[in-house]
Symmetry: C2
């Protein structure tokens, strides 16, 4: 059976199977080699994401599992923070999570998902550090993208007219603080990370090139995420071009004796 | 946990997560409601697809299943025949399967996948007809698309130059015979079907509008498949807009008392 790659995050993950989306591109790249499982929750911050953890990585449901798969993924991307970084006192205050709590929530998410991976691997509950478990599951923390404040304001005016917010609900500077916290935490836990906030800002005109409403990604923005994720996966030996097909390539099947190819590959 | 929708087929299914692909569009439509599982095998005919059946619908692996999910899908699309219809005596003869065998192979695929669904539902092996099982899994047979013979020849010349085939390896007329066989079998078994071969030819200029190389789909061709599949799913009460989210929509979460929304939805 194919391994799973889980994409866990907010709307930027939830939308990632739209045309040109980074999730769909990953699923296409790993076609016949791994299944890409979409777990994107639009509007969620890390505080709310914690409520989902024991459903996504179900420690207690290892057997009799008609309700779903219990095998640990080979890789999980954790792409949260864009909503945590919504400013207190502005229109999206409800989603705001202080940066210290954001880091601690991310830590819990990494530790719980990694423990699930270890549990499935060893069949015992063992208290372990992420490093000890790293061979069983690749975790990639992705920072929120940068914010184009002008783009956010334009979008708000187009959508809400006169009722639009008069001050942006997110700023690039504050989101940068969350991105920094995410990268620091990844270093501390010894898991891989992608600093999307920095990466996108290396390109002139990133505001309109990569962001369609100052926050969510254009097709080109999706391409950046896809390329960065594939790069990290390759560095961690999860290279699609080197992974086996789940069943024989059609060119390996002898038209007159097809069972031979399946006997060799499927036993 | 979310239900699964399995897409089983050949290259037209395997490619369906490319930009604008019908599989990715389905995954996006059912986002947070069902998981779309891609099982496309480029170049495969129904004879070879039979070798995969007990892996895709594993009757004997109901328990202790670290290797994958055993829950039956809520829906499976079976989209095969484009390779079976390759002509004997031409360059793709290796893939050719006579139309009578194509029908019998399709019948086995429907019966085996439906038996799996029933087995999981009742926890016993019960010999049943597809009709008796239909509430547990929706099966949709999709015919191959029409063939643009001129497009196939152009593609061959572009790809192989002077070594290109001099006669098309598939004809629209012959593929139409397979499409007819597929639709008749669906009627006989009482499962739903999409006559893509006929549907596409209702539109003027279908040859270039829907097919990029005389056989595989353009973005517009993908859109036709997506719309037809969604239509059949809706008729069978598998309408994404009426299915519940797996977890609360973010607007339902009280920022000051978030656990309330999760207690209501996740117990």
């Amino acid at each position: 059976m194919r391994p799973n790659i889980v994409l866990f995050g907010d709307s930027i993950t939830q939308e990632s199977f739209r045309s040109g989306g980074w999730g769909a591109s990953l699923a296409d790249t790993y076609s016949r080699k791994a299944d890409v499982v979409l777990r994107g929750y639009g509007g969620y911050n890390t505080r709310w994401a914690l409520f989902l953890l024991h459903h996504l990585f179900p420690l207690v449901k290892l057997f009799f599992t008609f309700s779903g798969s219990t095998k640990p993924p080979v890789a999980t991307t954790i792409f949260l923070g864009a909503n945590d970084a919504a400013l207190a006192g502005r229109t999206s205050e409800r989603q705001h999570v202080p940066v210290e709590e954001y880091r601690e929530n991310l830590r819990k998410i990494v530790l719980e998902s990694t423990s699930f991976s270890c549990l499935c691997t060893f069949h015992f509950i063992i208290i372990v550090s992420p490093q000890e478990c790293s061979p069983t599951m690749l975790i990639v923390l992705i920072t929120p993208p940068p914010i184009d404040e002008e783009g956010r304001m334009d979008y708000a005016r187009e959508t809400y007219g006169e009722k639009a917010m008069t001050l942006p609900e997110r700023t690039n500077e504050t989101t940068g603080v969350y991105a920094k916290g995410c990268i620091e935490l990844a270093g501390e836990l010894g898991v891989r990370s992608i600093n999307l906030w920095s990466k996108m800002q290396e390109t002139d005109g990133w505001q309109k090139k990569y962001l369609r409403d100052g926050l969510h990604l254009t097709a080109e923005g999706n391409a950046v995420v896809f390329e960065e994720v594939v790069k990290v996966f390759k560095e961690a030996w999860l290279d699609a071009s080197e992974m086996p097909y789940d069943f024989p390539h059609h060119s390996e099947i002898d038209g007159k004796n097809p069972e031979k190819a399946f006997q060799q590959k499927c036993l």
